[in-house]
């Protein structure tokens, strides 16, 4: 099944599958000593002569370590080369060509996310040629599918394509839109796939295959029919997908969004609070996105250990319990086998009195079960309470691993 549906050359440049080719992608050799564009560069180049592992970006001499790409050197030095398909931790594909730069001596523009820095290389990150190319790329993306409805798009304000369009003042009016080829898919509890927004950047494919290694999705079909598909182009719910949502976090547009994204506040309206996942012992760092005292989205924190942006389905989508209507809100006291509501004073006084009576009458007759789910501070207080107030070491927690 898999093979009949899908093109065999998955691992090739996905752009070839889009029928959209802006510039030849062949890697071109370049001559670093070729004539420079301006005098400033010349001067800096003289200064750095004989110093290997240095290059020039936008007139600045910058050191690099072997294997770093032009993009990495630029980012480290706060030179803002825009990217779209580039996904940290995955093999650069050079698919989107948003990150192109001009390298002196090269015959064509080069994708900075794929090309390694070399000694003496001279790069212009925002030359007229570069800007022209980026505008064309963005223009084509805006005309693939539907991108004329930013006003009601759940990703508005949190969309890389929108940001790029703004930065390069592209309105997407140059070409005829390609129209909507595949219907939306919402047949699962967590993820909405809106193919009309997909720009085939491949970040989701890399997130799924190279970062989480769940191998649920890939490029499928050829040319203008290209689509991100599961094996056999089934619905996500019937595929190998485990709903980790790595692809949703990676998608730069609204092609992959939380199932309810159109019904809840947009990410850009929320405030992010960084915290630690309360499920398993990995302790993933996550952002709770809050508006009006409610958590609406959860995303992984990208720059920190231990998870570097990844989460699993529980951490990312298992937060309904916070606002559940079944939460306990008031103390309860059992009388004649049934609970009745009580004030905090009454419940705590009763508890304090009974603990005091029992602990006073018999040594070690009271125990405390603290929890592997509550905080260190709360565990510390619980054991201090057992030991100093109840005067017992009868303190434990349930699961021992």
């Amino acid at each position: 099944m898999w093979h009949t549906y899908l093109i065999s050359a998955f691992k090739t440049n996905p752009l070839a599958t889009r029928g959209v080719c802006i510039l030849p992608t062949a890697v071109v050799s370049f001559l670093p000593w070729q004539t420079s564009l301006n005098q400033k560069t010349d001067k800096v180049r003289l200064e750095m002569e004989h110093k290997d592992k240095s290059m020039i970006i936008d007139g600045r001499a910058l050191r690099f370590t072997e294997g770093e790409t032009i993009l990495e050197v630029a980012r480290r030095n706060h030179i803002d080369i825009p990217t779209l398909c580039h996904l940290k931790g995955a093999t650069p594909t050079g698919a989107c060509r948003v990150c192109v730069v001009e390298v002196e001596g090269a015959r064509t523009l080069m994708t900075s996310c794929t090309v390694p820095a070399t000694a003496g290389m001279v790069v212009h990150s925002e030359s007229p040629e570069v800007i022209r190319s980026r505008r064309m790329t963005i223009e084509l993306m805006l005309t693939s599918g539907r991108h004329d409805d930013c006003l009601v798009c759940p990703s508005s304000g949190d969309c890389r394509l929108q940001d790029l369009a703004f930065r390069y003042k592209v309105k997407g009016a140059t070409f005829t839109p390609s129209g909507v080829k595949y219907p939306m898919e919402a047949a699962n509890p967590f993820i909405l796939r809106d193919f009309s927004k997909c720009i085939l950047c491949g970040r989701c494919v890399q997130a799924c295959n190279e970062v989480q290694v769940n191998e649920a999705i890939d490029f499928g079909y050829r040319g203008a029919e290209a689509k991100i598909v599961t094996k056999g182009d089934r619905a996500l719910k019937d595929s190998d997908c485990v709903f980790c949502g790595e692809c949703v976090q990676a998608c730069p547009v609204a092609a992959l969004v939380p199932k309810n994204a159109r019904l809840v506040p947009r990410m850009s309206e929320t405030r992010a609070v960084k915290t630690t996942c309360s499920y398993c012992g990995v302790g993933c760092q996550m952002n709770l996105h809050v508006k009006n005292n409610r958590v609406w989205h959860v995303t992984g924190c990208e720059e920190v250990a231990p998870n570097h942006g990844s989460l699993c389905v529980k951490g990312r989508y298992g937060f309904d319990f916070i606002a559940s209507e079944h939460r306990l809100t008031t103390p309860l006291i059992k009388e004649n086998g049934a609970f009745r509501e009580a004030s905090w004073d009454e419940a705590l006084d009763l508890t304090a009195r009974r603990f005091k009576e029992i602990a006073g009458a018999h040594a070690d007759a009271v125990g405390v079960l603290t929890s592997a789910r509550v905080t260190n501070e709360e565990n510390y207080i619980a054991q201090k309470f057992a030991r100093t107030v109840l005067k017992t070491n009868n303190i434990d927690h349930c699961a021992r691993l």
Binding site: T276, G283, T351, F355, E377
Partner: protein, 532 residues
């Protein structure tokens, strides 16, 4: 863990056992899969089930439940026989090698095959693969520990690591994957009957005095308390009369639930503090509401000992204080004031009295968590334990004998039951089963078994079956699956209405007091479908 999560991808070979990592620790499983798939690293996966991770394995083994010590000793046996051990490391950094070597001598591949069903040549290959790597990392989870001899199985894994010089190096280690988010922290903070925060023994006079001074109290009990599982027995015989349960749901999570229930119902006074009306709260005399992680400040410590911040994102239900505030209030009402201004103030105190935490503060862990031990304010934290030398000088080998599980299958109860988690739920399901989406993906309890077992029992996929052990019975849907080997069935323990722990055996590991959740004997028959 002795080593950080980031070390997994630095190992040359990774051995994973007793951990269905892709479902229980998904984000760690990604690191393992990346290492195997893209890093060209060897991956050995040992589990009674054909778990997903095995698809990425260089080599996989499926021992019968309860056979762990046998194959571990067997691997050491092969390594020693073929002279693959790290001779210098053993000489310089360890002690007790000879006794250990003697203990593993009987564990020939043939003998191991008899106990575990692992083909002898597979065991030999596994031993060569693990010992042949420069850096080998061992990851394990409850599949190893939740056995009557779990502590010994962990020690034998340490033997295996030390034989190959893999403890105390980058990319090595013997790494337990902690199940619950803050089980590491609960232990570190002294939520155990025999130790104060920082694992100092309560019966050690000098430690007790140190704590008395730190807390400004006298008369701390020098007698270790009783464990959760022993509390149940003590409640049944009447010596334990009152229990205060904070954020746990033992009436689903404890082994042999019928027995546990008996204990809880025998208590004179039970207080349960939780965010939901759990099964345990139902049994309480007083129920106190609590805040969840998104509503309070604090810290959790993850499986790699990394102390990380928990931050308040939303207000909780009106008037509900944090767990620590409730406890402090109780203390005050009992006439022993325990006053703190904030979670941070508690952290400051606990760091001051816990040597491994002395250098930690909220400020230091603001951006990224720090793994303890972190003794001073300028100490970077300790991602790897035992580097250069072991905490106690030399690493000790322990001679470990294999013992069969407490309960083995017989004619009456012919199937081995093993319990565990599924991806979409967590622990007793208190939180995850409130999620519509997670429930949709995993709506109910099931009993997973091999097609041949189902056929023999006259059951098919989706039929309702009754699973019976010597302690109780539950109903669950049959899930026929290629992941199971003949003779072993699996039931997840998240579902209170069909709680797997009605079946499990509360027999304890004598050292760790962990019950043998991972293997007991059951029989299965078809159940009449409920009408309605």
């Amino acid at each position: 863990m002795t080593n950080p999560i980031s070390d997994i991808e630095k190992a040359d070979v990774i051995l994973v056992t007793g951990s269905n990592t892709t479902e229980t620790h998904p984000v760690i499983s990604s690191a393992i899969k990346r290492a195997a798939k893209f890093g060209g690293k060897g991956l050995i996966v040992i589990d009674p089930r054909e778990i997903t991770l095995k698809q990425y394995a260089t080599l996989k083994m499926a021992p019968r439940p309860g056979g762990d010590i046998a194959w571990i000793n067997g691997m050491i046996h092969v390594i020693l026989k073929e002279g693959l051990q790290a001779k210098e490391y053993i000489l310089d950094r360890t002690e007790g090698f000879d006794a250990m070597a003697e203990a593993v001598a009987p564990f020939t591949p043939e003998y191991v095959e008899k106990i575990t069903g692992i083909p002898g040549n597979t065991l030999v290959e596994a031993a060569r693969l693990y010992a042949g790597a420069e850096k080998g990392s061992i990851l394990y989870c409850m599949g190893i520990t939740q056995h009557i001899n779990g502590t010994n199985a962990v020690k034998s894994l340490a033997n295996l690591a030390m034989v190959c010089g893999n403890l105390g190096i980058e990319g090595g280690g013997v790494n337990p994957l902690r199940g619950q988010n803050n089980v590491q922290g609960a232990c570190d903070m002294g939520g155990l009957p025999d130790v104060y925060p920082g694992y100092r023994k309560v019966h050690d006079e000098s430690h007790a005095q140190t704590m008395e001074k730190a807390w400004g109290v006298t008369g701390l009990s020098r007698t270790p308390g009783i464990t959760a599982t022993d509390m149940v027995d003590a409640a049944i015989d009447g010596t334990l009369k009152a229990l205060y349960v904070i954020g746990e749901n033992p009436l689903v999570s404890e082994a042999d639930l019928n027995h546990t229930e008996k204990g809880f119902h025998n208590l004179e006074f039970l207080v349960v503090q939780d965010i939901f009306m759990t099964e345990t709260a139902q049994a309480a005399n007083v129920v106190l509401p609590a805040l969840c992680f998104a509503e309070k400040e604090g810290t959790f410590t993850n499986t790699e000992r990394r102390v990380q911040r928990v931050r308040k994102a939303v207000d909780g239900p009106e008037g509900v204080p944090a767990d620590w505030e409730i406890v402090c209030d109780l203390a005050r009402r009992m006439g022993v004031p325990m006053e703190f201004k904030s979670a941070e103030a508690i952290f400051t105190e606990l760091a001051a009295v816990t040597p491994a935490f002395s250098g930690l503060s909220y400020k230091r862990i603001e951006k990224e968590g720090i793994p303890w031990p972190c003794p001073t304010a300028d100490h970077p934290g300790t991602p790897r334990l035992h580097v250069g030398s072991f905490a106690k000088g030399k690493g000790t080998f322990f001679p470990i004998e294999w013992t069969p599980p407490a309960e083995v299958t017989d004619a009456e109860y012919p199937l081995a039951l093993t319990t565990g988690r599924v991806l979409y739920h967590y622990h007793t399901g208190t939180m995850t089963r409130k999620s519509k989406g997670l429930n949709e993906r995993s709506p109910e309890c099931f009993v997973e078994m091999a097609g041949s077992d189902a056929k023999n029992l006259g059951l098919s996929d989706g039929t309702l079956a009754t699973v019976t052990s010597r302690r109780g019975n539950i109903k669950a849907r049959v899930k026929v699956s290629r992941r199971m080997h003949k003779g072993t069935v699996f039931i997840p323990f998240h579902f209170a209405e069909a709680a797997a722990n009605r079946l499990t055996n509360a027999k304890l590991d004598p050292d760790s007091k962990i019950p043998e959740f991972k293997v007991c004997a059951v029989r299965i028959g078809s159940a009449p479908e409920a009408r309605g």
